[in-house]
Symmetry: C2
Subunit: 669 residues, 2 copies
């Protein structure tokens, strides 16, 4: 496999040239490298090859991708395939199939036979292995084996296979095994090269960890000290909690209660018995909350923020350096000598841009060329060439002045006096205001009771009014402009109204055909009906600005969502192994006794059972996610922790404390 | 009163010179102003006067104080008196007396006769008026009347007097009046010139308010929309809450519940009935929390942060400008012409510094002179002079190498071989480690039970060990160095040990003399005993760094504390007027029935009464502060709000919602 032309991306050379380890400083014109493309001009395949390689460099620079790849013709072609969107989409698809298996494996939301899930998992593993093998063909061998990501994936694949085999064997011999490799699945999501954002978030957490740890230790020391004081102050007073249990008498329980107080989840209940005993004791708790919740939290935030800023600066500097280096490599591949300086000829430059960004228009490409070759000399110099990666990232909105299709088809009617008047009306401010008033009236009607037949009739009126509005707008404005990419509200409006129309028609049909009133469809109708009201925001300029800010936050939220998915998945799987079946939810058709204790006598007379938390359990991955969401919100988490500790062991609280710490770190990051 | 010499600080001139309104641009050497001090050199009183005025400018520049004052000799002398620390301390003292009156007025923690409290209040008002009158003598009349701060104080004094008279008259005729002027008292704390930091915080909040309002409106819109959806989705399902009440059937109650959910205080309880009904409904609440708690909170923070940064930049720029201007005014007062440039002579400079900072040492002053007059020309030029205000703010630690007093007194014994060995031992690392081990053993002993006589004996052993440690250290290290200002831990150690010694002795004496075991003293002994353990932090370098950060946060916390005091005070007084006496706490000696409902049948079977929150009431200012603290911590605030709404009116919830909004704004500021 190893050929002479192979070299790392940092030090690439035109193929066929002998390896020169010190050629990273590619600044001085190397006669060999510089001459190679020229000399090979006749050889069109050679030319094509270096163009392909240069395009790969530019593409990587444009998207800040830092994958070292081989420069042999075969590797470059494989690299193109590797980066093709179908391959990436397939990888993501199989990662999500792998993760989604938890829905169908015992304890399942919808149970599938073990054979089906295990075969699917093997298929996923095969795909992952194939993807990794493909990557190994693209990247130099020593780089591949030095990258912990690849090792990590391989070990995970291996461990999962071993686990599957052992579990299957145990299953055949009717022994209940533990699928211990399942929490490892998110490793695929993190470690495949596509998930750069999530990996960066993890790296940033890892960088902050050492400094956070010291603050955390000091914080824990403070909690332990206060707990000791609490033991001494309240331990011998024979006080009772609201539930009649002894108050602050066991050191470990005090530490847990004081930790919960930091999250403020048991305030003010934990204070009340002492406060009832003596007014002065409230000072103890107030000082505790001020120090351990407010002051320590601000120190945490300060540490994280400083660290984050420091590392961000490094990361950005490194990215900029890598980008520049890749662009210089691309330049070196394409350059020819022109009057004492090396340049890239115009036609070659155009072919490169066509390769890198096939879907940009000819006019756009001409515009880019005019920027890069300002003096229209017919070539691009090095300085301008390097800027190309950033130029390609600038979104150019092509304003095409289409004329309205109706104008083309029925010119005379469309431009007749009544039509012109109608179009003027729709464009007038009063038209918008009128519909704002309609929305407000609609809001009042929605709030009123549904049973009244007049109101359900009104609903049809409103729906038709909205449809008329959209049709009028489509008549007045050019449809392609109306549904342009950046017209968020038009898209929003039309889809909500269309969905509402479909759902309402469906609901009415179902009502008239069957006696059964479909709950799901009705719910959707309700939600869509209310969502329609959101449109009123669009009329107020200040709100529109804030909404744009909100929409801009979405990408950050997605990275955060990926991070949360990983954490939730791991904790869910572990939680299901520990707590599965310990707490049961019985619907309305169960005996009262069972429902009262969530099917577990250990929960008798606990806050958990009294608050009817039975459905907060780890009996399948969907329920687990809901419980973890509740834990993320923090409120009442001690009730959940205590409940699950009662049905298993006191040590189960550690699971909840760990989750809380992980979530806090995740959120403040 | 108005004399020719009077002018504002922005445009000051040497006294006796005719007013020149355009002299603010004092840059070009004005022959008159420049010559005046020179010509009056013989007139020592005149000279003294301009030095005094210059010193006032420098002092103001050093502490960033921006009080415009008259430049007449009498006004300058009054200005010195106005800024004297005793006057400032007296003002603060009377402000706190005025605020503390709430402790003694009905509803009181300790009731004093109305005559006493009202006379004290009148006395405070007189003091405030006197202070204001003093200020009016210092500052130019038109500036005084333009300043809203002064107007505010005067109106408040007047209103309080009116209120006092009306209330007193009503009282004599046995009609129960309302002391409505009491919530105005914090105005004195905010508006006297001394509370610059708190005022700045308020200003910064006021600046952010307009932008926050828009985000808040959008947020409320979102809450209202979700509430409408909730009404439609869950309203007709006949679901019941845990308490058996109808679930989500009244729109206003839904809005309140949804607002509470934003603060996460009723999560997951508010979700459970819908979640039990159908799994899918949990998505509604999860989406709600993600949008309204997490996303909106980050938008809030972003808006506040951007605004804060913008205004901070302006404020800092303005401060720097004012400082420079004041220094230039001072320079103009003292300058003489020396070789084509104006300078300040060395002896005059020294007298100025002596006036501005009387307590710095001669060597420190010489050092400053060497910095200002680098080339030792015998004078200070303008550029160096302007820097003086900043130079004075630099803390210079004078390292005096005192020899140990014992070395002076008993030289031979102190330097004898055993003494040297002892000193070497104390300075050794092992000595520190040994005491760390002792602290750890001590911690174990503290955690053990108190009843054991052996352990109470051990307590004496530990106490003596700690005292021996301090004595040994004082023997080895020079006491003045040991107790230097920056030796936080030495101070901490010694005071804790001394306090523990006194408290333990007191406790033992009380025990042996009376049978009564004083609870307060014992509590203090416990707390001091645990506080001793904190010392172990000092042994770990990383912890010491974090502790320094924590201690550095204190000044910011104090400003925040002042802000919180103002908010708490206003809400407490209002809360007492509304809720006073509605909820009663009965100690152990009351009938069970009464204790169960907190003395109010409206609270029967409520979460408030069941959680035994009776002591969370507004029956005196101390209790009110505790309730407001609990509301600040947010958890369970809806239980408190519901409780107080039940004993008064549903509208009482507005009080709690308003407090929550104010606190959120205060905290995120």
């Amino acid at each position: 496999m190893e050929s002479a032309g192979r070299s790392r991306v940092g030090i690439p050379q035109p193929p066929g040239v002998q390896e020169q380890p010190d050629s990273a400083a590619a600044q001085p014109p190397r006669s060999l490298a510089g001459a190679a493309p020229d000399a090979a001009m006749g050889d069109s395949a050679q030319e094509e090859q270096s163009l392909l390689l240069a395009a790969a460099y530019v593409y990587d620079a444009q998207y800040n991708r830092n994958i070292p790849f081989d420069t042999s013709p075969r590797a470059v072609r494989l690299y193109y395939l590797y980066n093709h969107w179908t391959m990436q989409a397939a990888t993501y698809f199989f990662i999500f199939v792998d993760l989604a298996l938890a829905l169908f494996e015992e304890p399942a939301v919808y149970l599938l036979p073990f054979l089906v899930t295990s075969l699917t998992e093997v298929l996923c593993l095969l795909v992952f292995f194939g993807r990794l093998f493909h990557f190994a063909q693209v990247t130099p061998r020593d780089v591949f084996w030095k990258d912990t990501k690849n090792i990590c994936i391989m070990i995970t694949i291996l461990m999962t296979l071993v686990d599957l085999i052992v579990f299957g064997a145990l299953r055949i011999s009717s022994i209940r095994g533990v699928r211990w490799s399942r929490p490892l699945r998110p490793i695929f999501l993190i470690n495949f090269a596509e998930s750069r954002q999530i990996r960066r978030a993890f790296r940033s957490i890892r960088n902050t960890l050492p400094e956070i740890t010291y603050v955390f230790l000091l914080f824990m020391f403070s909690v332990l000290m206060f707990s000791l004081m609490a033991l001494k102050l309240f331990g011998d007073r024979n006080l009772k909690t609201v539930e009649g249990l002894p108050y602050f008498s066991n050191y470990l329980e005090i530490v847990f209660d004081m930790y919960v107080l930091v999250t403020t989840a048991n305030s003010p209940d934990v204070m009340m018995p002492a406060y009832d005993f003596s007014w002065w004791y409230c000072l103890f708790f107030i000082v505790y909350v001020i120090i351990n919740t407010y002051i320590f939290m601000s120190v945490f935030l300060a540490v994280v923020y400083n660290n984050y800023r420091k590392h961000l600066k490094n990361e950005i500097r490194k990215l900029a350096y890598m980008k520049r280096r890749k662009m210089i490599e691309a330049f070196n591949l394409l350059k020819v000598k022109e009057e004492a300086e090396f340049v890239v000829k115009e036609d070659r430059w155009k072919r490169l841009v066509k390769l890198v960004a096939p879907d940009i228009s000819t006019s756009h490409r001409e515009l880019l060329l005019r920027i890069c070759d300002e003096e229209q000399k017919g070539f691009v110099d090095k300085k301008s060439f390097v800027r190309l990666a950033d130029l390609l990232n600038i979104q150019v909105i092509t304003m095409k002045l289409h004329s309205h299709p109706l104008e083309v088809w029925i010119h005379q009617v469309y431009n007749s006096a009544p039509s012109l008047l109608l179009r003027k009306m729709v464009q007038h401010k009063v038209f918008v205001w009128m519909y704002d008033v309609i929305i407000l009236i609609n809001a009042v009607f929605i709030a009123l009771d549904e049973e009244n037949p007049l109101i359900s009739y009104a609903e049809w009126v409103f729906l038709s009014l909205y449809i008329v509005e959209i049709l009028l707008k489509l008549y007045t404005y050019e449809p392609r402009t109306f549904f342009a990419r950046n017209q968020f509200w038009n898209w929003f409006d039309t889809s909500i109204i269309l969905a509402a129309l479909i759902a309402t028609v469906l609901n009415t049909t179902l009502k008239s055909v069957t006696v059964y009133n479909s709950q799901q469809v009705l719910d959707i109708v309700f939600i869509l009906r209310v969502l329609r009201l959101i449109r009123i925001i669009d009329s107020i300029q200040r709100f529109r600005v804030i909404m744009t800010t909100l929409i801009n936050i979405v990408p950050t939220m997605l990275t955060f969502g990926g991070l949360a998915l990983v954490v939730y998945y791991v904790f869910s799987i572990i939680g299901m192994e520990i707590f599965h079946g310990r707490v049961q939810f019985f619907g309305g058709n169960s005996t009262v006794q069972h429902a009262l204790y969530c099917g577990n006598p250990a929960l008798k007379d606990t806050t958990f059972a009294r608050a009817k938390y039975c459905k907060n359990n780890f009996n399948d991955i969907a329920s687990s996610f809901v419980v973890l969401m509740e834990l993320t919100v923090v409120n009442q988490w001690h009730v959940l922790a205590n409940g699950f500790a009662l049905v298993t062991h006191e040590a189960a609280k550690l699971y909840f404390i760990t989750f809380h710490i992980v979530v806090v770190i995740m959120i403040i990051k």
